[in-house]
Symmetry: C2
Subunit: 330 residues, 2 copies
Amino acid sequence: MSELRRDPITGRTVIIAPERLRPMALPLETLRGGSCPFCEGREAIAGREILAWRTPDHPHNGGGWRVRVVPNREPALRVESHYAEPADALFQRLGGLGAHEVIIESPDHGANWSTMTAYDLRVVLWAWRERIRDLRRDVRLKSFLIVKNVGAAAGATLDHAHSQLVALPFVPQHLEDERAGARARHDDTGSCAFCAVVDEEVRGGSRLVSTDDNTIAFTPFASRVPFETWVMSRRHGAAFDEETDEGLSAVAERLSDTLRRLYVALAAPPHTVLLHTAPVGEADRSSYHWHLEIIPRLSAESGLAWDGGIHVNPVAPEDAARHLRDSRRP
Amino acid sequence: MSELRRDPITGRTVIIAPERLRPMALPLETLRGGSCPFCEGREAIAGREILAWRTPDHPHNGGGWRVRVVPNREPALRVESHYAEPADALFQRLGGLGAHEVIIESPDHGANWSTMTAYDLRVVLWAWRERIRDLRRDVRLKSFLIVKNVGAAAGATLDHAHSQLVALPFVPQHLEDERAGARARHDDTGSCAFCAVVDEEVRGGSRLVSTDDNTIAFTPFASRVPFETWVMSRRHGAAFDEETDEGLSAVAERLSDTLRRLYVALAAPPHTVLLHTAPVGEADRSSYHWHLEIIPRLSAESGLAWDGGIHVNPVAPEDAARHLRDSRRP
């Protein structure tokens, strides 16, 4: 069974999940083509569906779907587990409560976000939203992370387009840091720091990839890696799962355009996409702003940057943005 | 010129260093054998030496050295730069002040920490200590990081055994988090949290790799990756650069033994070694405890764990420690 363990010095929580794979079997082999459990027709292997977008003439757990959500076959966390903040012990084991789901983003093995249509991406975002909405009703869960890894260099173990949802019974440190920074600036200025950044990026333009009235894509001022790109709604909203259908459509368009630019500029780079959305609670409604962080994984990270260390980025975000503005699918 | 930029939301500082390599030239090619700038005889290419351990009959900047410290040829930071905490702007550029040096750990291209003797490692640790001692006299510098990357999967761009020293005009967030946790526990209990961990690891034994009266190697309770291993002195000491010669010798012995076990257990794994030592200031003297973190880089990290996210570790540290206890060079 998995367990959450808290580091006695930093207080950071780590998931120890020995059932996920046998020791010594690392690294995982990447399954290809014929044996892919996520392809249409292999629904029984992928697992019992939690949610799907399919035409009405197809049965539950059968084919005919565009997007399908299943439990992770080797879940790092389970809703059946317990979780307790223990007394002040040096070594704290907190149980393995949480949720770990897989969003299979297309029935087509060869699809990726640069070849999928904006409508396809909208269906993916719909599945993310619906799953977070549902999990938010479990009062034991406090934060929701969505991560999409593309390519072995980004830690992906399957080629088929998919993302993962992890729901946690606590707020992890990196999200807490972001939320605390956003709150502090909100206390100072009375407005959302993310909204202020968006306004500045639109005004300045040097780090702008593309924008319209509703959404924006830009390379952040303190980009950690070459071509880090954020996609977000220009309208303030703390929780991704409160986005409207129209909001999702607009973000899907921006995301589709941005991924196409990245695929052209960097030749289909391995990358990670992270959804950051507000943890449970009312306190962040005016200060937090959900957003998508696209992290190209172009080279192995130096130990200097490992686990929240110091990033040395050899490409200024202004140069990356210029390159992305000039990169359109031919 | 490099610059330090502070993220407007999280406050994290990133080094933007466009001179380090041309955009689009990523990833760096790994130089091999004949063209290695770190081999003996190529001192003029490696650069003017800042420090060296050599026999007295050899000239400065010539051969006959065991360890040699030179400036990084493409420094992320420079002591000639300025640094200023600016006013409360959204986008803060802080200048590129700092130091970035390379410790060439052996004249022999094929050496690594599992083949080098404990005496060789002691000379490396001596060079680390002397350089930090010297840089600490620059009152503008507030923290000192040493990182050793081994293997392309750990971000190394040169095979020849080396480590890097980065001195910063601020305390980076990951070190600040660790120091804050250690201080909080010291305030609660009146003693060093690291010392408490060491005592528990010796008493419990399940995560112990090896120990004696002076030093310890163990797999931490909340290990972030398989076979994460810490090496430290059992005697309390906040600053690595205050270690005695005897202290360095004892640590070098433990480090040599530990690397040999890791090389046997994991077949010469790519890995990172990080030295964590107290930032400038008196406040941490009783609460901080310098230590070495050995991070095997066995598989590409999931985006979930990227930059201080949530680590999912499939190997319990108790299993890793048992394996390392059983692994001795044949």
